[in-house]
């Protein structure tokens, strides 16, 4: 039994690790001709390129991706927390229909919506702007956050709030010192994963941003077209860093509900 569990663990670890092997090898290779299994020459050229030579562009991409994703995640929480509370705790006429409507953007791909909105974003002066890209990401991240917070508030006992109120706490005090601490794990999962959802968006950013807002995935696609494999591999690894950070941060608070809708 012990042997079997070790074998399963190793098999899972190997399968998870496989895609990262070529990325790591390519990112540190100087010369790597077929059919050599390992690069003929190792070197830091690709990493120099993304931090020095093209540093302003790539790090600029990291920065705009980070800003878009942070603002989107925060706005999503501001929208999703109250909505999740309403859906989880209160009786609402037509609740099932409302839930279906609010969950559809989690499942329907951004393609048609972004295309539909683009012309009107152009009219409103939102196309090719930061705000425009945040709005299109919000279309998909906010519903995701709503769903997570709905799950959280389904298991939430509002009696504690009544007790705090009867002891003289004001409404803001109840929210800050009773509600928020109780739903904090859910908030963490919702914020981190809607950050990631926005961080990985490519097509909707391309359509609304029009190639003007250079987020990391936009740059990565351009690099793939240019065919510079070591640099593309190194940027891919940079692109994955937040995913790992989020994973470590949420390792404790992650729950089954937090995973629903993560793609």
């Amino acid at each position: 039994m012990r042997v079997k569990s070790v074998l399963v663990l190793l098999a899972v670890a190997a399968s998870v690790a496989v895609p990262f092997v070529p990325l790591l090898l390519w990112s540190v290779s100087e010369r790597w001709f077929f059919p050599s299994l390992l690069p003929q020459a190792f070197g830091p050229r690709a990493w120099h390129y993304i931090f020095d030579t093209a540093g302003s562009q790539i790090l600029g991409g990291v920065w705009s991706s980070f800003l878009v994703a942070s603002v989107t995640a925060c706005l999503s929480l501001l929208i999703g927390l109250p909505a999740g509370r309403a859906l989880g705790l209160y009786g609402i006429p037509g609740k099932r229909l409302l839930l279906l409507l609010l969950s559809l953007p989690v499942i329907v791909p951004p393609l048609a919506v972004a295309m539909g909105l683009h012309l009107w974003f152009v009219r409103l002066g939102l196309a090719e702007t930061f705000v425009g890209v945040v709005l299109i990401h919000l279309t998909f991240c906010a519903p995701y956050t709503i769903m997570v917070m709905w799950g959280v508030f389904c298991d939430y006992n509002p009696e504690f709030e009544d007790q705090a109120r009867s002891l003289g706490a004001s409404v803001p005090q109840v929210m800050l010192f009773v509600m928020v601490p109780m739903v904090l794990p859910g908030i963490t999962v919702a914020v981190l994963f809607s950050f990631l959802l926005s961080w990985s968006q490519y097509l909707s950013t391309l359509i609304i941003g029009g190639g003007k807002l250079l987020t990391l995935p936009i740059l990565l696609f351009a690099l793939m077209d240019s065919g510079d494999r070591p640099v593309a591999a190194a940027v891919s690894l940079v692109f994955v860093v937040p995913a790992f950070l989020v994973l470590l941060a949420s390792a404790q608070s992650i729950s089954r509900r937090g995973l629903q809708g993560v793609r």
Partner: protein, 314 residues
């Protein structure tokens, strides 16, 4: 959990004010508007609005000309295009195949992990890694792995199993979308497995032990006890990944062939064509994808309601 059920009716009783609706505490309508308003606004304006504006553009709506400019010509052109069937079939094949493979592997993996118990925490952590990694990165990795000059071909070659790069089978930009399937399966197995694990852990061993006591063999216990319990979650997570793969762009764009195109790639290619007149057609294809997914979700909801209704009758 047990307490909540008892407390709920008491809470309802003590708060006579507000709209009395089952399924949750009553609440004044004004507060609901404040709580739900922003959410409904975002989804209504941006999501539903985006779809409606898309429909208008696909119908060729030109501002200033009003209803006179509306035409179904763009939709018609897409629907009679012989490419549509090929493209739909390929998209459906990719989405269905990756979902089925991922589903089968996930059931096996989840059952194995539950039976092992020890180290399952470590495995769950490992399985969370693929959930967070963007599809784009894995598509690039698969490109580096599976092309005729990729790492797999190099490994085979160094083992003496491959004479030259040309004799390596085409696994990327190929007919069967092997590369695309590889990316999706790698991303989906952990998602479905973790969803299944949550249910299997809650299920406990009692039912299986009862089954064993009644002399059900392993096969019977799986088909008559485990499978009915995991089916709802399996179906739900399967639907989520199917819908996602059906409408996703990046992976088939990088790893697919240039002909026939998958629906999302075809849609974007047409939309971004130099010929601006093709734009409404691109949007029409995008809307078709959205419609197929919404119909699929709607149907599965109806099936679910029907199954619950049947179970209620028994």
């Amino acid at each position: 959990m047990g307490d909540a059920g008892i407390e709920e009716p008491m809470m309802n009783g003590s708060r006579a004010s507000g709209t009395a609706v089952p399924d949750g505490r009553p609440v004044p309508a004004g507060r609901l508007v404040i709580l739900l308003g922003p959410a409904v606004l975002v989804v209504g304006l941006l999501f539903v609005g985006g779809l409606v504006l898309g429909v208008l553009q696909a119908l060729g709506y030109a501002p200033g000309q009003g209803a006179a400019s509306l035409t179904v010509e763009h939709f018609r052109r897409v629907l009679v295009d012989p490419e549509l069937f090929t493209s739909f079939a390929l998209t459906f094949y990719i989405a269905a195949t990756s979902t089925i493979i991922a589903g089968l592997v996930s059931v096996a993996l989840a059952l194995t992990l539950v039976s092992l118990e020890s180290r399952s925490r470590m495995v769950s952590f490992l399985l969370q890694i693929p959930l967070t990694v963007p599809h784009l990165v894995i598509a690039i990795a698969v490109l580096f792995l599976l092309t005729p000059s990729g790492l797999v071909a190099r490994a085979l070659s160094s083992l003496g199993l491959l004479a030259e790069a040309a004799s390596f089978p085409l696994l990327v930009n190929d007919r069967f979308g092997i590369g695309i399937l590889a990316v999706y399966v790698w991303k989906e197995i952990p998602f479905i497995t973790l969803m299944l694990l949550a249910v299997l852990k809650n299920m406990g061993k009692e039912l299986l032990e009862a089954g064993a006591t009644l002399r059900a063999n392993a096969r019977q216990r799986f088909f008559h006890i485990t499978l009915p319990i995991i089916t709802p979650v399996l179906a739900a997570s399967g639907l989520i990944v199917f819908a996602f793969t059906f409408g996703a762009f990046e992976v088939p764009y990088l790893l697919g062939r240039t002909h026939p195109l998958l629906l999302p790639v075809w849609s974007y290619r047409t939309y971004s064509d130099i010929d601006l007149l093709a734009r409404p057609e691109g949007i029409a294809i995008g809307l078709l994808i959205a419609a197929i997914i919404i119909i699929a979700v709607g149907c599965s909801q109806m099936v679910l309601t029907l199954v619950r209704y049947r179970e209620g009758e028994r």
